[in-house]
């Protein structure tokens, strides 16, 4: 029976080629518009560390002056000072803890055929790598060094390893950079978290760094302060060490706890820490520590720009227009087949049978719409990549998106066709056979 309905509906679609294509295209356009905007929201707010995002936390402390706010109206800064970064990391109260910041410096490969270049560097603690599940191609990261101690070690990105060492296992090789000799201890695989949740100061989708060095290297070699660096004290002096000793913030502080339940304990540790620092004359403001897990942090940073949400709502309206359009066209189409339906009813087909046949026909149109919609969606997303180059790192059409597209397309076509279908089924056959 199903097969018969299928051939019947295919024949109907074929006999009203123009109208059918028009209906499917309309649905396809609506689906494509809303799927393009939806996939942007979906891809941008995708969890970067799905299995542990609820126990990896971003730490904020309010070390600002009494009468000003680091971030209006009265929020603590999003980065911490050098002093706090080191104190909290070396207190080791969490499973992993690491402060990170972006900086840069000249890399001058020993091989004269490779021109020196300005390397973008992430300076951080060794626990940065296991905390954020950074994939290693060769070697491994360094361990967190004890306070004040450090070795000249460097972890390369895959492309930097390609550039300097031609992609071989370069672990153990030496690399002249920042005016000193460094030893390569690891090479990481392609790693481009989007959004770049652990440091969004230079852009939410900023490309990955070329090299990774221990945080203490930044202080020892006085590397520039990249990213956000805010100060509220006016006279901190000119020296590099003065900046580090000041309340200037520049370091993104993250911790991973073993269990979500440990959060309260960690929060009370932080409170004690601030109280203890206040006794030393710091933290003039009331304690205002903010501990956000990755999801909360991404929401706080409004990773999905309001533009995208506006597009999304406009595209939903667009989809509705397409559905109403398809509904009236479907109604038209089904009315033209009234005679055939009446004949089938008169020959003994039940209302249910007519209904199933109409339903199959609309589902077929829905599938056609999904096909058109999906192609337009792929086309649209490549257009988005051109318009927003920074998004190209994460724009892909994955399986869930494909399934949602087909599902919504069929569902909306059936919805659009429901009223006309019922109308056709309710017809008294006699009226149309005369």
């Amino acid at each position: 029976m199903f097969y018969y309905y299928l051939t019947l509906s295919l024949r109907n679609i074929a006999s009203h080629k123009g109208l059918s294509v028009l209906i499917a295209t309309t649905i396809g356009l609506g689906i494509a518009a809303s799927m393009i905007t939806y996939s942007l929201i979906y891809l941008m707010s995708k969890d970067p560390l799905p299995h542990k995002s609820d126990r990896v936390y971003h730490i904020q402390l309010d070390n600002w002056s009494l009468n000003t706010a680091a971030i209006p109206p009265d929020l603590p800064p999003e980065e911490v000072s050098w002093t706090d970064a080191l104190n909290i990391v070396h207190a080791k109260q969490a499973k992993y803890q690491a402060a990170n910041t972006i900086t840069w410096g000249m890399v001058t490969p020993a091989d004269n055929n490779i021109p020196p270049f300005l390397g973008i560097i992430r300076a951080t603690h060794g626990e940065f790598f296991p905390m954020f599940d950074v994939p290693f191609l060769f070697g491994q990261a360094w361990q967190n060094y004890p306070r004040g101690q450090v070795e000249n070690v460097v972890v390369l990105s895959k492309s930097t390893n390609q550039r300097i060492f031609g992609g071989i296992n370069s672990v153990g090789q030496t690399l002249p950079m920042l005016g000193q000799l460094f030893t390569v201890i690891g090479v990481i695989n392609d790693w481009h978290p989007s959004p770049k949740f652990f440091d969004m100061s230079l852009g939410k989708f900023y490309p990955p760094e070329d090299l990774y060095v221990p945080l203490q290297i930044k202080a020892n070699l006085e590397l520039p302060h990249g990213g956000n660096s805010h100060c509220w004290q006016s006279n901190i002096g000119d020296s590099y060490q003065a900046f580090l000793n000041s309340e200037c913030v520049n370091f993104n502080l993250w911790v991973e706890l073993s269990h979500q339940q440990d959060k309260a304990q960690f929060a009370s540790y932080l409170e004690d820490y601030v109280t203890q620092q206040r006794a030393l004359g710091r933290f003039p403001k009331a304690t205002q520590n903010i501990i956000l897990d990755i999801e909360q942090w991404l929401a706080h940073k409004k990773v999905v720009s309001s533009d995208i949400y506006v597009f999304f709502y406009l595209s939903l309206f667009f989809l509705l227009v397409c559905l109403f359009n398809a509904a009236s066209l479907l109604s038209t189409k089904l009315t033209t087949t009234t005679g055939q339906m009446a004949l089938r009813r008169a020959l003994g087909a039940s209302r249910q049978a007519i209904f199933s046949q109409c339903l199959i026909e609309t589902i077929m149109l829905g599938c056609l719409g999904a096909l058109i919609g999906f192609s337009l969606c792929a086309l649209g997303l490549s257009g988005i990549k051109i318009l927003y180059p920074e998004f190209s790192a994460f724009i892909t059409l994955d399986m869930p998106l494909l399934i949602i597209t087909i599902g919504i397309s069929i569902l909306s076509t059936v919805l659009a066709g429901l009223v006309p279908t019922i109308k056709v089924c309710m017809l008294a056959p006699a009226d149309y056979l005369r």
Partner: protein, 420 residues
């Protein structure tokens, strides 16, 4: 209504439209009529809000910068050896660049319109902590800055060479003379007579006093941090760091070749540094405004596709109605209705449908806007955009039915006498 009254046949075509039968027909086709009206209403809501957002983004793109955007480029020179002396390097580079025949002038500056991050100072007209302050983006330029950027001096004069301070990043000494933009001058002194502003003293960050030496027409802030993009202040300073940025203005039509020339020259003239990020200001502008250009493109595609869909829907429905009414039209023609009567019937029907859609759509447009205003801080939708979008929809509707309506007009009266 007046089908048989021949004396009316020469009057306006719309006076012969059978309004009552027309309305009755529309009411009988409840479902398709509702769908069409809803479609037009939603289209109006999207169209008016979309056009409004597009026009706002276009305004942002067209904000005047005050600089010569078409003949300028910037580059970065990063010294990387221990012996690299930034001040000597900047002086040597700028001297050489200013000698080049294709270059109008060049200046060392980290800030220029679209350069991104910049420092903002709070300015006031008298000393004291509790005065009202006006924010201004700070530019640090030497005496060549005004010509290199292509600014227009409205009053007062340019800095002279001995006023310019060469400083490192951490030196806090403030110069005694400044040049400000006209918008900043009017914010500070509430006047548009720029010559009266020259010679007045302003206080920077409640501490440092400086005399206004000149007023330039426009100089856009490097980024819109506080919604005061036209407020800028220029200090006669050159900040020396290992990494310097040069802003270079070329003769007309020489931009491309000069960019190559300058990069080649600088790369070889001093081997202790590297030249990076050689980009024309228009390229940088495009990157900065990328999201706005993206938004405009996406909205235009949506508006265009939506118009097509709506038009196709209306056209499809009218064609279908035409098939159903063929015989009816033939009878009307046989009974004396002329071609214009048939055409005007379809047009009138379309106008009635569009009007219902527009009225409902107006409410939807305002509703959608209220939602967007509350959620995403969009400005309120002016009525004019609803009117413009409504006019577009009327025109679109008429265009969509034109082909089927003309086909209807040409239906032969003889059809009435045939069966089927």
């Amino acid at each position: 209504m007046s089908d048989t009254n021949q004396s009316h046949s020469n009057t306006m075509p719309f006076s012969r439209i059978p309004f009552l039968p027309l309305l009755r027909t529309l009411i009988r086709q409840k479902y398709t009529f509702t769908m069409l009206v809803l479609q037009i209403a939603l289209t109006l809501a999207v169209l008016s809000n979309g056009l409004f957002i597009v026009s706002q983004r276009l305004d942002i793109l067209q904000r005047p910068t005050g600089i010569d955007e078409t003949h300028t480029f910037a580059l970065t020179s990063s010294g990387f050896t221990q012996s690299f002396n930034p001040q000597n390097s900047i002086k040597a580079d700028l001297d050489a660049l200013r000698q080049m025949p294709n270059i109008v002038n060049a200046v060392a500056t980290y800030a220029f319109p679209f350069s991104g991050s910049s420092e903002w100072d709070e300015l006031q007209t008298s000393t004291g902590q509790d005065e009202i302050t006006v924010p201004a983006a700070s530019y640090k330029l030497d005496e060549h800055g005004i010509e290199a950027l292509g600014l227009t001096l409205l009053a007062g004069e340019n800095f002279n060479t001995n006023e310019v301070l060469w400083q490192t990043q951490t030196t806090k000494t403030f110069p005694s003379a400044v040049i400000i933009t006209s918008k900043l001058a009017s914010d500070l002194f509430n006047t548009t007579d720029w010559s009266t502003v020259v010679g007045k003293t302003i206080y920077i960050n409640a501490t440092y006093g400086a005399v206004i030496k000149g007023v330039v027409e426009q100089l856009q802030a490097p980024w819109d941090a506080v919604g005061k993009i036209e407020n800028s202040i220029i200090y006669p300073r050159v900040i020396t760091r290992n990494s310097a940025r040069y802003f270079i203005r070329t003769q007309a039509n020489k931009l491309q070749e000069t960019m190559v020339e300058v990069e080649d020259y600088l790369a070889t003239s001093n081997q202790q540094r590297m030249i990076r990020k050689v980009q024309s200001i228009q390229t940088i502008k495009k990157q900065v405004y990328g999201p706005d250009i993206g938004a405009i493109s996406i909205l235009m595609v949506v508006i265009f596709a939506l118009s097509i869909v709506a038009a196709l829907g209306i056209a499809g429905l009218t064609s279908f109605n035409l098939v159903k009414r063929k015989k009816q039209i033939g009878i009307r023609r046989a009974l004396g209705a002329n071609k214009t009567d048939i055409l005007s019937y379809f047009i009138a029907e379309n106008i009635i449908q569009s009007t219902c859609g527009v009225l409902l759509g107006w409410l939807l447009a305002l509703g959608l806007n209220v939602f967007l205003v509350s959620q995403y801080a969009l400005p309120k939708l002016p009525l004019s955009y609803v009117v413009i979008a409504a006019l577009c929809l009327y025109i679109l509707g008429i265009l969509a039915i034109l082909k089927p309506a003309i086909k209807a007009m040409n239906i032969s009266p003889a059809l009435a006498t045939r069966d089927q």
